[in-house]
């Protein structure tokens, strides 16, 4: 430990003409949980009141020292170097006057360095966007856990972490290598950090935030690092990259590290300029190419190979001098769902552009076969919509659109389309038609009435980007709409609702892809309405709180109890599936049977959120609404598959049919440890819920061995099998075959292809993270023959989107409300621990299990009724390669598991007859309805 007079850490705060924000930065250091530190304010010879402010800070706390450069250096290096020289502590950090250190930054990094003995420690950066008040982590994937890295070669991707400020350095390390910031160049951080990473014997990475980076609103004064429109700025970036190259040569770094550095340069630094190209004048682009192409030629080929395909093509076009096309391609960087305008085909290969490239080199670089533009289904079709021209007619905006369809998926018929435009509320949808206009191109005209765009109660301030949706039957395809590059923005004044005056600007978004953009601002007297904002917000909050109180569970339970004094309404049935998820599961099939039999009942369905799955004409109540309370209280029958909310005690006159939503691997009811070990009142609450059931549907003896006692259910059982499984047992009937074909059409399954349905269950603690999809889909797609289509259906607690590069083989089945459509349409099921396998066995089609995390699952907190290896009706696979092998030659596997499959079927499907719906309806409504 250092002597008492020496602080533990020195923080060098550099400043230039920033008197306003300097105190915030310095205060963030003085408020650190580490007291033993010093602040060096290193002033690059400011000309504003910075010196006064700095001296005040110095006077107020003995830990602050102010040093001032004699001449302005114009950069960050000289002040930081001065700071290093005058500072005394054994550890050093850097801070810019417009940023902050979070409270634990110094202490936490200091402890880490003392513990590890490493040369420096680096942590994550939180970026704070002043315009919106939002925050985002900077390259969070680099900082996932606390780790000591022994040399850059162990983790070369750390080169992306090229800031100097989110780090604490051991002074000995700085001095040993004479590390200083290079004076006279910009992006000095990059060289300094590359040197530090390269020279360190070891460094520590920590996952927490150690630096808060303020990003000023775009229209404010631009700092050095965001002056990308200046050619000098490009040159500066390359200069520093060259210096890093030279340093790597001197230091004798490996080719692999050079590749890592080149990749970072292309992916981070150069990518910024590429993305800006659509918004630069032609001459600028030419100058840019001239300035950068020689340097690009010095980068390792391997670094290019690591880039996403769209970016690689863009760089190739730039280097080949095809500048117009470079700009065209630059608009889709980072947007894999947007297509290039043209793709040509020759010899089974697809190439970017209008003509087949002439040279072998060009063919290699422009090959886009792997993007499978032509192998998409309608929903994932990769298209490009551009505004070709537009004019205004009064307050209407007439757009002439051109749609590019390089995969030739839209055919040669007119396509129904619409433009979507909304501000804060309802979205205005304007339909139009796209007419074929040459191969792979469509053109159309649409008139947007700007005066009809619904605005919020206070009008609207902000910008919006209309999108385009194409429609084929009930399938849709939505994509962004690109604006017309390089035209002058157009402004109109529009008055909404007679008094709300707005100025509306129409332009091409001046960044990124350059979407068509419409910006609203309030004008005239109406502008003042925003002053009412705070008052209005306060009223809104109060109203919301009052409403919440009024609609509380307690009030609903009380009113419910009062309503149950009224007589039941004969024949009123409340249906609910899986907490109101939609028209599906056992209740759906019971309802259909009621309709088929024409029974005189009055059916009301409960829904939570989405109502799109319900057939027209079905009466609906929102789950939890007052209407729902009323229906619950008055209904003669409840039919449900999950458990109706516990606050509704059942009156004796109401009959409750519980169908439950499946058999399970996982423990249920009181077998679930968290319930078994819960407090008495939680247990009795559960018991009270179960005691409401009058009748429970049972699919198998096994169910009666597990689920029934686990819930201490002692009422009557209907040993009929599940109503929802009728269609599976009777899958060979024409109605079902037709339903299967419809689903296959909807999924875009080519004739003759086989469908593997991949339906894993969710993972505890991984809701909505996509963590349940554990098969490496890319590996699967790369190694499978063409005749399989993979349909992924994520559990409703999880989510899934088809990766754009796999959409030619992988489909998303998550949007099918009733999973039976998918089961019927599939040729085999791949799952893990999902209860779906118990239903699927009724189809007697192959079941495969992908269980790479079986140990975790088995020993998880919840506990299971079965050891999967004992009941598995198919192979338990742990690697994607095993799955590939099985799918390539499925028949022997089916044969091998035939006996086990049969046992599984007997165990879990013993009561299924294919006529459960009828039997259930007869039993439940038959006698009781009278």
């Amino acid at each position: 430990m250092s002597s008492p007079s020496t602080p533990d850490v020195s923080v060098v705060v550099i400043v230039y003409n920033d008197a306003e924000r300097l105190p915030r930065a310095v205060r963030s250091v003085l408020a650190q949980t580490l007291n033993s530190l010093e602040v060096i304010i290193a002033d690059d010879c400011s000309t504003d009141t910075t010196p006064d402010v700095a001296r005040e800070l110095e006077a107020a706390d003995p830990r602050v020292r102010y040093v001032r450069l004699e001449h302005n250096s114009g950069g960050c290096s000289a002040p930081r170097n001065r700071g290093i020289e005058v500072s005394r502590a054994p550890y050093v950090m850097f801070l810019d006057s417009d940023d902050e250190l979070p409270p634990h930054a110094c202490k936490s990094l200091l402890l880490t360095l003392e513990k590890s003995g490493a040369d420096f420690a680096t942590g994550d950066v939180e970026r704070y966007f002043e315009a919106t008040g939002r925050t985002a982590l900077w390259y969070p994937d680099l900082f996932l856990e606390e780790e000591v890295v022994h040399g850059l070669q162990e983790k070369p991707e750390m080169l992306f972490d090229h800031l100097s400020t989110n780090k604490m350095y051991r002074r000995e390390f700085i001095e040993e290598h004479g590390l200083r910031f290079p004076v006279g160049i910009h992006y000095e951080d990059q060289l300094f950090s590359a040197q530090a990473f390269s020279l360190a014997k070891s460094f520590v990475v920590v996952p927490w935030v150690v630096y808060r980076w303020y990003l000023a609103a775009a229209n404010e004064k631009l700092s050095i690092s965001s002056s990308r429109h200046k050619m000098q700025n490009v040159v500066d970036r390359m200069t520093v990259a060259r210096l890093v190259d030279e340093f790597f040569v001197q230091a004798g770094q490996s080719r692999a590290l050079k590749t890592a550095k080149d990749h970072k340069f292309l992916r981070h630094d150069f990518r910024l300029y590429l993305g800006d190209l659509p918004h630069r004048p032609k001459e600028w682009v030419a100058g840019f190419a001239e300035a950068t192409v020689p340097y690009l030629a010095t980068l390792n080929d391997e670094a290019y190979a690591l880039l996403p395909p769209d970016e690689r093509i863009c760089l190739y076009l730039l280097r080949a001098g095809r500048l117009e096309e470079t700009v065209e391609q630059a608009r889709i960087l980072g947007r894999p769902k947007v297509a290039p305008r043209y793709v040509t085909r020759a010899d089974d290969r697809a190439y970017w552009g209008r003509v087949v490239p002439e040279t072998a080199e060009a063919r290699e670089n422009l090959d886009v076969t792997e993007r499978h533009y032509e192998n998409q289904v309608f929903e994932t079709a990769i298209l490009r919509h551009e505004v070709e021209s537009f004019r205004t007619e009064g307050t209407a905006l007439v757009l002439r659109l051109r749609t590019y369809d390089p995969g030739l998926l839209l055919g040669d018929e007119p396509v129904e389309a619409r433009v979507n435009l909304g501000t804060t509320g309802r979205i205005m949808r304007t339909p139009f038609r796209l007419l074929p206009d040459g191969p792979g191109e469509f053109a159309g005209e649409v008139t947007l009435e700007l005066a009809d765009v619904p605005l919020g109660i206070n009008g609207f301030v902000g910008r919006r980007h209309p999108t385009v949706t194409l429609r084929q039957g009930d399938l849709t395809n939505t994509n962004i709409l690109l604006g017309q590059l390089g035209f002058t923005p157009l402004a109109r004044r529009i008055t909404y609702r007679r008094i709300e005056r707005h100025s509306v600007r129409i332009e091409c978004e001046p960044a990124g892809a350059g979407r068509f953009q419409i910006t609203w601002d309030r004008t005239g007297a109406f502008k003042e309405v925003k002053r009412l904002g705070p008052i209005q917000r306060r009223i809104k909050r109060k109203v919301k709180a009052a409403r919440k109180k009024l609609n509380s569970h307690e009030n609903k339970a009380t009113i419910y109890r009062a309503l149950t004094r009224l007589p039941v309404r004969k024949g009123l049935v409340l249906f609910e599936s899986v907490e109101g998820k939609g028209y599906l599961d056992n209740p759906r099939y019971i309802h259909e049977e009621l309709v088929r039999q024409g029974r005189p009942v009055d059916v009301v369905w409960s829904y939570a959120g989405d109502t799109s799955t319900f057939p027209e004409g079905v009466k609906l109540v929102r789950r939890g609404s007052w209407q729902y309370v009323h229906t619950m209280a008055r209904a003669q029958f409840w039919v449900d598959s999950h458990n109706l909310p516990s606050i509704y005690a059942k009156r004796p006159e109401t009959h409750y049919l519980q169908t439950w939503h499946g058999q399970t691997m996982k423990t249920m009811g009181f077998d679930v440890p968290s319930l078994r070990n819960a407090a008495d009142d939680a247990q009795s609450k559960h018991q009270a819920m179960v005691d409401r059931w009058d009748l429970l549907v049972s699919p198998s003896e096994e169910f009666e061995r597990t689920f029934v006692p686990a819930n201490k259910y002692t009422g009557d059982l209907l040993r009929t099998g599940y109503p929802r499984n009728d269609v599976l047992v009777r899958w060979e009937e024409p109605e079902q075959l037709e339903r299967a074909q419809e689903a296959r059409n909807r999924l875009g399954v080519p004739d003759g292809a086989r469908v593997l349905l991949y339906a894993p269950t969710f993972r505890d603690g991984g809701r909505n993270t996509g963590s349940s999809i554990r098969v490496d889909l890319r590996e699967l797609v790369d190694n499978l023959d063409d005749d399989w289509i993979i349909v992924v259906r994520a559990h409703y607690y999880d989510r899934f989107t088809v990766p754009a590069e796999l959409a030619h083989v992988v489909r998303n089945g998550s949007n099918f409300p009733d999973v039976n459509d998918l089961l019927l349409a599939s040729d085999a099921l791949l799952t893990d621990y999902s209860s779906l396998m118990f239903d699927y066995a009724n189809l007697r089609r192959p079941i495969l299990l992908f269980v790479d995390d079986y140990e975790n699952y088995k020993h998880g907190e919840r506990g299971t009724y079965y050891d999967l290896e004992e009941i598995a009706p198919g192979p338990m696979l742990r690697e994607t390669s095993e799955l590939v092998d099985v799918l390539r030659d499925l028949d022997p596997v089916v044969e091998e598991y035939a006996e086990r499959y049969e046992k599984f079927h007997t165990m879990f499907c013993s009561y299924e007859t294919g006529h459960a719906s009828r039997t259930v309806v007869d039993a439940f409504f038959g006698e009781e309805q009278q």
């Binding site: 033993s36 930054a105 920590v206 307690e554 009030n555 009113i559 440890p673 603690g765 020993h859």
Partner: protein, 384 residues
Amino acid sequence: MRTTRTRHVFFVGIDVDSLGGSQRVIHTLAQGLGGRGHRVEVVGIRTAPEPFRYHDEPTYEHTTLYPDTPAAAWHAKSLTERLSPTRNLSARRNKAARTEARAKLQARFDAVPEGFVVFGSPWAADWVLPLHWPQLKGIGQYHESFLQARTSENKDLILRHYPLMSKALFLSQGDADEFTRLRLPNAGVMPNPLSFYPDAVAPAGTRRVAAVGRLEGIKRLERLLWAFAEATRDAHQDWELHLMGDGPQEDYLRETAVELGIADRVIFRGRVSDMSRALREVDIVALSSEKEGRPMALAEAAACGVPVVSFDLSAGVRELVDDGVTGVLVPSGDMPALARALERLIADPELRCTYGKAAREHVRPYALEAVLDRWEDLFDEIDR
């Protein structure tokens, strides 16, 4: 001899006076730090239904903020009840009681110029954070495993409140690492102290297996009964199983013992007051719980030189039991493996002796004096 500044330390918990593991830790620490001359104050936010007196001659002050056990949250059963003035009045009274309790703690804080506030749980922090105490440094503790935090509100409370503390303390490195992964910047480790560490111990040779803890569902003692019956079915029928603790499952466990035919060899000892002595009279300690964070019973057994057989339940358990060195860990829920491990230790007195000696050494860092040193180091670290 260490020399250190005299500190003012508050230990704040929701309930610090019930009989329980985490409460014992608070009082042991308070007594230890008080004994070292620090000014310590234990603050219970609520009164315990059955208060337990941990020290006859406490070296620390002791306050409870609420004067009596507050009424349970109330929901109206009917419209008339909802509108009942007495009910609404009592709801208002509860609110007033909280304001008063907070004011009481604020006054205690105001009386101290500098020092530390140690929160027993994120809930305690949640209750105290609205107060004003800039002159004090906060330390947040969490006494359960990360897994337990993840499946409850505790995780979010910790991530919300503990970054505001000088330090967030977890019982094991594994748990601290998990929170670090969630980008908590100030996670550290502080083991709970053993309330005893006998000077010398010798193998008991009493042929007793013991389980220590309340007889409640989560301890899953029926699994241990089964494993014990298995392990002593063919031989070693002179061995006994001692259950040290009481609780709601006693009748159920007695029945189970009868069913397994070992009723005569299962001894229900009830609540044991002198754990140090009780442990020195057994040969093996076994643990068959559903889940545990960092069970003190295992550390106490080790302190008494008793080898342990346990399910591998958490990073905390792995930290206290070095599998194959100080005891045996078997996969969670694997009852046959538990039975086999028991049988092996029962059959091999030499192995018990080797494990027992190693176990004692293994938990030496958790002896009270060592842990108190760590607390004083932590205070110094926070002061840096």
